[in-house]
C-alpha cells in the first residue's frame, strides 16, 4: 500500500490539506484525541506515518514510506538518498546566523576565529563556516538554541527563522541568511523507478495541484 511519511509540527496541517486535495484523507492526525502514529486513508488506498520532521527522510530512504514531506532544511542537513520531486512552497523559512543584538558582530565573517556556534543543524553550520573559511566550534543542541548567546555559551547560533519574532523577543538579530527553505515532496528512489503502487499518479496529482495554486 502507498505509504506517506508526514512530519509532526509546523508542516503537518498544510501537508494534510495538500494530500486531501489529491484525495488522500489523513486529517485524523489533526484530531487532538488521536494517539495513533499510523493511519489509513478512509478509502483504504494509502496509509500515513506520523514521525518527527527529522525522521521523514529516514523512513523514505529505507523505503518504509514511498513518499514523504520534509522541510528543505532537514533534507539539506541529513542528505538522504531520496528523490527530490516537488517544491511544495509552504513552510517558508530561512536558515540564518544570529547573534546577540548587543554584540559588535554584523556579519558572519566578523565572528572571531574559534568562537562557538550553537545549532540543531550541525552539518549545515559546519558546511557554511567551512565555506567562508572561518574555524568555529559547533555546539550541538536539540532546542531553545537562542539560549546559547543569551547565556554566553556561544557567540552565535545557526537556526531556522520564519517571522523573526523568537529572535527579537530573545534579544538576538539575524546577521546572515544561509538559504531559504520550503516543504518538499520526496520519494524512495527505487519505488519511484519501479512506480510501486502507481506512485507517479499521486505525484502528478500533487504537482498539478501545486502548479494550479501558483
Amino acid at each position: 500500500m502507498l505509504t506517506v511519511a508526514l512530519p509532526k509540527g509546523a508542516l503537518l496541517k498544510d501537508s494534510i490539506s495538500l494530500l486531501q486535495s489529491v484525495g488522500l484523507d489523513f486529517s485524523a492526525f489533526l484530531d487532538s484525541a488521536n494517539r495513533q502514529l499510523q493511519i489509513q486513508d478512509p478509502t483504504g488506498k494509502a496509509q500515513a506515518l506520523l514521525v518527527r520532521t527529522h525522521d521523514v527522510p529516514v523512513y523514505v530512504e529505507y523505503g518504509q514510506a514511498q513518499l514523504g514531506i520534509a522541510g528543505y532544511d532537514v533534507i539539506r542537513e541529513k542528505k538522504p538518498q531520496v528523490a527530490h520531486l516537488i517544491d511544495l512552497g509552504y513552510g517558508r523559512c530561512r536558515m540564518s546566523v544570529a547573534v546577540k543584538a548587543s554584540s559588535p558582530y554584523r556579519s558572519a565573517v566578523e565572528l572571531p576565529t574559534n568562537s562557538r556556534v550553537a545549532s540543531k543543524f550541525v552539518h549545515c553550520a559546519r558546511e557554511y563556516f567551512d565555506s567562508i573559511d572561518l574555524p568555529v566550534e559547533i555546539v550541538p543542541l536539540y532546542g531553545s538554541v537562542e539560549l546559547g548567546p543569551i547565556t554566553g555559551m556561544s557567540e552565535a547560533i545557526v537556526d531556522l527563522v520564519s517571522t523573526g519574532r523568537t529572535l527579537r523577543e530573545n534579544g538576538l538579530i539575524e546577521i546572515e541568511i544561509l538559504y531559504e527553505s520550503t516543504a518538499r515532496l520526496i520519494a524512495h528512489p527505487l519505488s519511484y523507478r519501479l512506480n510501486t503502487d502507481n506512485l507517479s499518479e499521486v505525484i502528478e496529482k500533487i504537482r498539478s495541484h501545486i502548479l494550479a495554486a501558483v
Partner: protein, 421 residues
C-alpha cells in the same frame, strides 16, 4: 575484558553458512553451466587500483597500514579482475568467462551507525566480447540465476550509459555535470532551478522520467535527435530487448501486467565507468523492494590497467549474497538446520578407542557422504542416547573392548520433525 567484533562486522555461524552456501552453490552451478571459470583475486589492492575506474571514492574504502604505499580492502571485484586480466592473463584467448564468489568491504558512512562493512558477492565478468549478443548472454545468465534460486518476482531496471551520455552532451558544458548529478539522484527540484533554457529544462525533465515499459521508452528515444553512434546504440538496445522478451523464463514475467524489464534512461552514474547497458536487479518479493544485484558494460575499464592502455571490452554483474539471503529467508527454501550426523560411535572402554576410530573410518568410507561423530566423554549410556536424540542422530554404534560393534537405532522424540531434515 569482553572481546567484541568491530562495529559493522558479522560472524556467520554454521546455520548461516549452510544457508549462504545453499545460495552460492546454486549460483555456481549456473556459472559452470555457462562455461565460466572461477577466479580468486587478492583481498588487498593498492588504492590506485581500486579507484582507477572512477566509480569508487577513497571515503568508501577501508584502508590498511602498510609499508607498501596506500593499500585497502577491495569494495568490489571488477577492478581486481580488470587489473589481473590485462597484466597476468596477457595474450589470453578472448572471450574470457570468469566468475567470483568473494567478500568485499565498504567503509560505513558516518551517518549510519554500525552499518555492515563486510559483504559477500557472487558475480561474473565476460571479457573481450563486444556487441549486444554478449549483453544478452549476461542478462540471460542472470535470469537463469534467479530461476535457479526460484526467485520469480524480480525485475531488471535497465539503462544505457552511452545513449544517456549523448543526451547529456546537448546541455551547456558549464551545467552538464549538475544536470547529470541531478538526474542520477532523481532530483527534479534542482533541474527546475538550474539556469537552463525552457527547452533544455524540458529535455532534462524528460530524461529524468525516461523510464517504463521498454517499447514505450524505445519509441520516445527514437523520436529524439540522435547522432549516428547513438542511433546504432539504440538499434542494439532494441535487438537486445526483443531477444530478452523471447528468451526470459516465463516464470519471471508472472506479474502479468508488465514485462520484467523496466527501461530507464535516468539510470546513470556521476562517473564515466559504464559505456553500454547498465542495470540493477530488483526483488519485489519483500516489502519494500530490494536491489539484489547490479552490473553493466565497461569497455574502457581494462585499458586503464593496461601498460599500453590497450583496452578490452567487458561486461558483468554481481549479486549481493546478503540481500539474496534476506529475500529467500521467508520462502522456506533455505536449509532450516545444519546437517545432522548419521552415526554416533561410542567406545565403551579405553581399550576400544582404536577399534572405535577404525569403525568410524569404515562408516565414513561410504561412497555417499556419511557423517560420523565420535563420542569423546565418559557419559553414561542414557546421557549419550539423550544427546543423540537431541542432535537427531539416528544410529549409534557401541564399541566394546574387544572391538565388536553393537548398533542401536534412536527414535527421535520429535519424530514429526525429522523426516524433512
Amino acid at each position: 575484558m569482553v572481546y567484541q567484533s568491530p562495529a559493522g562486522a558479522r560472524d556467520l555461524l554454521p546455520l548461516d553458512v549452510a544457508q549462504k552456501r545453499w545460495i552460492e552453490e546454486r549460483l555456481q552451478q549456473v556459472f559452470h553451466r555457462w562455461g565460466y571459470h572461477r577466479i580468486i583475486t587478492s583481498t588487498l589492492e593498492h588504492l590506485d587500483t581500486l579507484m582507477a575506474g572512477g566509480a569508487v571514492q577513497r571515503s568508501q574504502l577501508i584502508q590498511l597500514q602498510s609499508d607498501e604505499g596506500e593499500i585497502g580492502l577491495r569494495p568490489e571485484l571488477t577492478a581486481s579482475i580488470a587489473r589481473t586480466a590485462v597484466t597476468r592473463m596477457a595474450g589470453a584467448l578472448y572471450p574470457q568467462r570468469l566468475y567470483y564468489n568473494a567478500n568485499v568491504f565498504r567503509r560505513a558512512s558516518s551517518t549510519h551507525h554500525n552499518q555492515q562493512q563486510e559483504f559477500y558477492q557472487a558475480g561474473v565478468e565476460l571479457l573481450g566480447a563486444q556487441g549486444w549478443l554478449a549483453d544478452a548472454e549476461i542478462l540471460l545468465l542472470l535470469a537463469e540465476c534467479m530461476q535457479e534460486l526460484s526467485l520469480n518476482n524480480w525485475c531488471l531496471i535497465l539503462g544505457e550509459a552511452g545513449i544517456a551520455r549523448s543526451l547529456l552532451s546537448t546541455f551547456p558544458a558549464n551545467l552538464r555535470e549538475q544536470v547529470r548529478y541531478a538526474i542520477a539522484h532523481l532530483d527534479r527540484i534542482t533541474l527546475e532551478t538550474l539556469p537552463l533554457s525552457r527547452e533544455e529544462c524540458d529535455r532534462a525533465l524528460m530524461m529524468l522520467d525516461l523510464r517504463g515499459h521498454p517499447a514505450d521508452v524505445l519509441q520516445k528515444i527514437a523520436s529524439l535527435d540522435l547522432e549516428t553512434p547513438q542511433a546504432e546504440a539504440l538499434h542494439r538496445l532494441k535487438s537486445l530487448i526483443a531477444l530478452l522478451n523471447e528468451c526470459f523464463p516465463v516464470s519471471s514475467s508472472q506479474s502479468t501486467t508488465s514485462s520484467p524489464i523496466i527501461l530507464d534512461l535516468s539510470l546513470i552514474q556521476t562517473f564515466d565507468y559504464y559505456t553500454g547497458i547498465v542495470f540493477k536487479v530488483v526483488s519485489n518479493t519483500t516489502y519494500p523492494a530490494r536491489i539484489i544485484g547490479q552490473g553493466g558494460r565497461y569497455d574502457q575499464l581494462l585499458g586503464l590497467y593496461h601498460p599500453q592502455a590497450e583496452t578490452v571490452s567487458g561486461i558483468g554483474f554481481s549479486l549481493n549474497i546478503e540481500d539474496l539471503h534476506q529475500v529467500l529467508l521467508p520462502s522456506q527454501q533455505l536449509p532450516h538446520a545444519t546437517p545432522t550426523s548419521n552415526w554416533l560411535v561410542i567406545p565403551e572402554t579405553p581399550q576400544a578407542y582404536t577399534a572405535a576410530f577404525a569403525y568410524a573410518a569404515k562408516l565414513r568410507a561410504s561412497q555417499h557422504l556419511v557423517r560420523v561423530e565420535m563420542d569423546l566423554g565418559d557419559s553414561d549410556p542414557d546421557t549419550i542416547r539423550e544427546y543423540a536424540r537431541h542432535r537427531r542422530i539416528q544410529q549409534i554404534a557401541w564399541i566394546k573392548s574387544e572391538g565388536l560393534p553393537s548398533i542401536e537405532s534412536i527414535t527421535s522424540t520429535k519424530s514429526l520433525l525429522s523426516p524433512s531434515q
